[in-house]
């Protein structure tokens, strides 16, 4: 699989020094179920000033490879092969030597910035910790607290934290999510390592913040010549940042190519499938060619009028308005796409419609029932007409019950069928979501993520609901699985004709499914309209920013969009 390595790396690359060289790496984990070969045979190298992206779906071994680079594997792992950083083989190093290399030669940026920072120390202290830990080893003697702080301030300035002299004394909770990730990057930069390993650095962040962090990482490469190993599943991020791409699948490298070549002419079937599965804004839109809203003559299922949902504040603080004066309607047969970033109130609206949250003001009519002052006893008969698909398919099934029992539960509660009837209906439902009927006897952990989400859809459909609420149903899934589930979702919606509120943070996914799209920002519905019009010709500033921040999986197009984005922000 690696025969095309030499031909693909161009002449320029060969002249540059190699920062990281991985040679025939194998990693095996010992588990209760026997040995798991997480990384089978991986060889790759990273040149100075290069961004190498490792992409792959969950279980492909990309994170394990990244952790091996820093020697962070757990005790249950055994590795062989060589990982060379500046001539030192990480795999065979003693813990003491490894500690010297970490931070100085190679540093790591983690996925979740809020857990990577210790909440009880100031960010300055945490950045200085690395500087002082390496002070003795560099032969420079001890670094005074003052000097370490000065260097922390310098690092914060590098990553674009405004007013670093002052904010070096702040605690992590005083920063926003994007700034926290900047601080983590600053800590990684403090000792000027030649290589940074970034494991899904933007996955936990909103799209608009993601664009900023990608911008920062690009600056690091351009200004300081830092090499970056970028681990991600997001093809848009790869197109935006990477120079060279390694595609991994089940512990092996499938393909390695410069980013432009990979996106333009993928060689392997797997890469082609992966790229085809990535949702692309504007392609395959549900609302293409529509000029007016569909299904308006049908029954109105949900009508929100100036809806307000507040979460009570702590002592002395005012209540937090999660949803602030939102008005919309949802008719039978229609898919309403609700888009927004984290904290925009989109999930709160979905939960309020299902009666999981209470509304505090305005009016929300669900199937004609006023949800203000909801009473569970009077609302319960309506529940059989509402289906709900949760975000995480792994957590939304009771692990102690079989899939069949879970799917039959709504029926058991509302219609009390006989065992034979229930079994027959479960079989039908499983078939309609393209799962074999025999899966009814399995337990949730015996299904893969995509299969579980199909089963979850089957459960939501078991009583033929008039209204379905899908809260980020595909965001926990891999792209190729996501594509299949979305396709299935679309077919089933057309077949059953229920009204659907589709909640997602991903504009491209929403565009595939919904004809009518609403954009939420800080609890307010800033824009709604026909999907293709909202995406193609956004009216509100925020929508424009949101769409411009979304990286598209195509390096050439993304470079153009990046320029537009910069112009929009006035940089």
């Amino acid at each position: 699989m690696s025969e095309n390595l030499g031909s693909l790396s161009d002449q320029q690359d060969r002249e540059r020094t190699t920062v990281l060289d991985i040679d025939h790496l194998q990693v095996t984990f010992t588990t209760d179920g026997g040995d798991v070969h997480a990384v089978k045979d991986v060889s790759l190298d990273v040149k100075a000033g290069e961004v190498l992206a490792i992409v792959g779906e969950s279980g492909s071994g990309k994170t394990v490879t990244a952790k091996t680079i820093l020697g962070l594997l757990p005790e249950t792992a055994t590795s062989s092969g060589a990982v060379l950083i500046n001539g030192a083989n990480i795999i065979s190093l003693s813990p003491g030597r490894l500690r010297q290399i970490r931070g100085r030669d190679v540093a790591m940026v983690f996925q979740e910035p809020s857990t990577a920072l210790n909440p009880v120390f100031t960010v300055g202290w945490q950045i200085a910790e690395g500087i002082r830990a390496h002070a003795g080893a560099n032969g420079g003697g001890r670094v005074s607290a003052k000097e370490a702080k000065a260097r922390a301030i310098e690092a914060l300035g590098k990553v674009g934290i405004p007013d670093p002299e002052h904010r070096v004394n702040y605690y992590p909770h005083q920063f926003s999510g994007g700034q926290k990730q900047r601080v983590v990057i600053a800590a990684a930069l403090a000792l000027n390592p030649g290589l940074i390993v970034a494991d899904e650095p933007t996955t936990a962040l909103d799209v608009t913040v993601q664009a900023e962090i990608l911008e920062l990482l690009r600056d690091l490469r351009d200004k300081y010549g830092t090499s970056i190993v970028l681990i991600t599943h997001n093809m848009g991020v790869v197109a935006d940042l990477a120079d060279r791409v390694v595609v991994m699948y089940q512990g092996d490298i499938v393909e390695e190519a410069p980013a432009k070549t990979l996106f333009a002419e993928p060689r392997q079937d797997y890469t082609r499938k992966l790229l085809a599965a990535v949702p692309h804004l504007g392609r395959n839109s549900a609302s293409a060619g529509l000029t007016e809203r569909r299904h308006q003559d049908e029954e109105v299922l949900v009508a929100a009028d100036n809806l307000v949902i507040e979460y009570p504040g702590r002592l002395g603080t005012p209540a937090f308005k999660a949803v602030d004066g939102v008005s919309f309607t949802l008719s039978r047969g229609e898919v309403f796409g609700l888009v927004g970033e984290s904290g925009s109130g989109k999930t709160t609206i979905g939960r309020a419609i299902a009666g999981l949250n209470r509304t505090t003001g305005g009016s929300l009519k669900v199937l004609g029932y006023e949800m203000l002052n909801l009473r569970e006893r009077t609302f319960k008969p309506l529940r059989k007409d509402i289906g709900f698909v949760f975000q995480d398919p792994a957590a939304s099934f009771n692990p102690q019950l079989t899939i069949g029992e879970c799917i039959a539960e709504p029926m058991v509660i509302h219609t009390r069928p006989s065992d034979a009837q229930a079994r027959k209906r479960v079989g039908q439902l499983l078939e309609s979501v393209q799962l074999p009927a025999s899966y009814a006897g399995r337990y949730p952990h015996e299904l893969s993520g995509g299969q579980r989400q199909r089963a979850s859809l089957a459960r939501a459909l078991s009583l033929n609901p008039r209204l379905l609420i899908a809260d980020e149903p595909t965001s926990a899934l891999d792209v190729s699985v996501q594509a299949k589930v979305l396709e299935l979702f679309r077919d089933i919606q057309e077949e059953f004709g229920f009204g659907c509120l589709f909640i997602s943070h991903d504009l491209a996914v929403v565009d595939i499914l919904s004809s009518w799209v609403g954009v939420l920002y800080k609890g307010k519905l800033v824009e709604q309209g026909i999907g293709s019009q909202v995406m193609g010709n956004p009216q509100h500033d925020y929508t424009r920013r949101l769409i411009a921040s979304l990286p598209v999986p195509d390096p050439a197009e993304q470079a153009k969009r990046r320029e537009e984005h910069r112009a929009l922000l006035g940089i």
Binding site: T30, V254, K384, Q434, E446, S448, K484
Partner: protein, 342 residues
Amino acid sequence: MSANTTIEPVANPRAPLFRRLPVVSHFNKSMGLQRFMLVVGLVLTGIFLLTALAAPLLAPYGFAQLSDADGSFPTQQAPGGKHLLGTTVGGYDVLSRVIWGTQTALLVIIVAVVLSIFAGVILGLVSGYIGGWLDRILVVVADAIYAFPSLLVAIVMAIVISGGQSSLFGGILAAAISITVVFIPQYFRVIRAETIRLKAEPFVESAKVVGASNVRIMTRHIYRNATRTLPLIFTLNASESILTLAGLGFLGFGIEPSSAAEWGFDLNKALADTTSGIWWTGLFPGLAIVWTVLGLTLVGESINDLNDPRLRGRKRTNRKGSAAAAPAAANGSGPATELSNP
């Protein structure tokens, strides 16, 4: 290319029921020192259980027997001859008292732990799920019971229930109920914490959305998921209940020697003997207590370690075996199955 190979997604067909039972499954998972500890604990506990069941066959005399066909037993006789472990100041046979004592201990453990599990689990579920003022009151009461020294509570309960003195079943029940009162807060705490955690899980919310009643959610969805830690608390509490029983007996709130054999009571009576060099009356009941508590604690601690994947030891992988196919397909089968699905 491996992208098109289909791997059946079912990774672990369910093992037979026997192998999934708490202690058996733990034994299968264990290795090295952890397995040694578990085995020692199981052997000690097993001998304790067998002795309790076979006490009528093993014991040479009755627990309250003071004489046989040859006349009255001598008092304070050293071990040897007719009385293998000697006799006490009252003329009881020490070996028989130690063997019969296992029965009393076992009965007290069973009654105490069963009572406290039932009450604790029900209270914990209701308190955690319903919350509000009921939860607050129950937590305060549980904390208040914690604040008392457990032996003090046990003494008070023993006095309330039986006036301090009683027959076999009165005595066992009094001891068991007083231990129950001390243990309910522990079960309550554990189950309540689990319930509160599970209450926010999506599968509970999905049951709510479906329209399931509170009772159904508590019994069908939360109960079975919240009780996984119980085998652990069970073994640890069993050993503690023996200590409490012995403590009660030692202080004189136990069971009359004519009603049943009880190690704590025997220790109490042996106090005066130690100064006059009579060691056998105190040593053997004491050893029996250590034996039982050690066995149960070892089992409990091993289960605790084995339940936690981070504490559990594993065999190192065989480096040469890397060419063999990975048997645990769960890790990589998800995407493969999706791609190969029609």
